[in-house]
Symmetry: C2
Subunit: 273 residues, 2 copies
């Protein structure tokens, strides 16, 4: 099969969180077109089972294939943890998740080989970061901590708030005691809490933002597969957004974090796929 290099990249997430990944792709690979899908009818994924997440991911991939994407970014840590390994074998286009790129950078920059990971219950319970980090360096100790309230705090907009600082202090205490020197923000909402998390952890701990690393990895992958956009095919809407519910609410959140004015957001029935 010949893949069209000027086709868009498909990006999906359980909701708005993956927009932090889309944002990094827009910034770092400006000639690439994007079709984004946010599963706002079934959000959140973090407290659901592997089986359910795998079924949801397959439906979304079927939808993105219909949009003729040339590659897929699973911009959701839970879906990357639970579904990526299985769906990779079912596809004839490149697919990447957000966990490997974050793990690779963490393994490279940690000095004391003690790496913390924060994320949803599903992601942390899966132990997926530890699996990747240990593969890269057997000597790394990984300390995971789930932070279930962080997503709600972000969606409430309390990004720089005393309540958020208190919640963060409590969740992160264990990681501080374990003397980590590197912390992976293992949920796509968390980069929006970056300054609060940084303030609590202190300057000695380096924060890894997998959204940024994933955009760079996507760039490398497209180059390797000879799929970098020629940038010649101009489109009126280079970034298209689809959701499974509440398109207007999604659009307003998207406009608050993207360096781009979101004009079109369309609701589709994902359960038909």
């Amino acid at each position: 099969m010949k893949i069209d290099r000027d086709a868009p990249v498909g990006v999906f997430d359980s909701g708005v969180g993956g927009l932090t990944v889309a944002r990094e792709i827009m910034r770092n690979l400006p000639s690439e077109k994007i079709v984004y899908f946010g599963d706002t009818a079934r959000v959140p994924y973090g407290n659901k089972s592997k089986e359910t997440i795998l079924r949801y991911s397959r439906q979304i991939i079927r939808f993105l294939r219909e949009q003729e994407v040339k590659a897929i970014v699973v911009a959701c840590n839970t879906a990357s943890a639970f579904a990526l390994d299985e769906v990779r074998h079912e596809l004839d286009i490149p697919i990447l998740g957000v966990i490997e790129p974050g793990a690779e950078v963490a393994a490279r920059i940690t000095k004391n080989k003690r790496v913390g990971v924060i994320g949803t219950e599903g992601t942390i319970g899966s132990g997926i970061h530890e699996k990747y980090l240990k593969k890269l360096d057997q000597e790394i100790t990984v300390i995971g901590k789930s932070c279930p309230l962080f997503v709600s705090l972000v969606e409430e907009g309390w990004l720089h708030d005393p309540v958020t600082v208190e919640v963060a202090s409590r969740y992160l205490k264990e990681l501080q005691e374990q003397e980590i020197d590197t912390l992976i923000l293992g949920c796509t909402h968390y980069p929006l809490l970056r300054s609060t998390i940084g303030q609590v952890m202190g300057e000695k701990v380096q924060l890894v933002n997998p959204a940024y690393e994933t955009a760079l990895e996507l760039g490398r992958l497209l180059k390797e597969k000879d799929l970098v956009s020629t940038g010649k095919e101009q489109e009126e809407f280079p970034y298209r957004f689809y959701v499974s519910d509440l398109a207007e609410k999604f659009k307003s959140f998207a406009n608050s974090i993207l360096p781009y004015d979101v004009e079109m957001t369309q609701k589709i029935d994902i359960e038909k796929y």
Copy 2:
């Protein structure tokens, strides 16, 4: 159609919250059997559209009908707000929600005719409590406030916690300033925060727990329709629990709040209905 009076009552919610309603039915109508469905794969409902909630509710009602229930309790405020009026006309068995019973008590006990309502974004945005309260008494002023973080705080188990007190103080400030004398706990999770909410609002404000009022209303409705259980038909499992995901996690939460040892929780594929 002749309805079997010894058939179970169907109770459904987006997840675990409706267990506060099931608990009140167990306490107040001990001879009634219950089939409970918690939509744990698609929880929460509070931030989804009316159209989506209506579709979900219809699927669950089809499942409960298959279990041959004699009546249905919509133990979820969002589903009661968005779906009850429409599905009532599609059914030949009694169905009731949690909003009307709570509104009736609030209208009866308020002295200054200033009633507060707290709930999810969906419930508060629907204005459904105001609709019912105004129907009962035109002079009542209704002040609604959505409290999106409360559900996450309950599910995290932080029921009596300084963070929860701080979040509650912030959400409830507006209601205090409006000098309400009655407050409806308009989300099934909130009775579990009753003591924190009571502490913040002070003794002068009466809290209405719709879970309790709904159980009493169910008792009246069954009597009126001549459907009270004879209590003769004993069953090994008078209370049966079904979920759309993570049955074990549900069971452990259920066991922490029910006056009864939950033995069987079964996962079903609700999207087939």
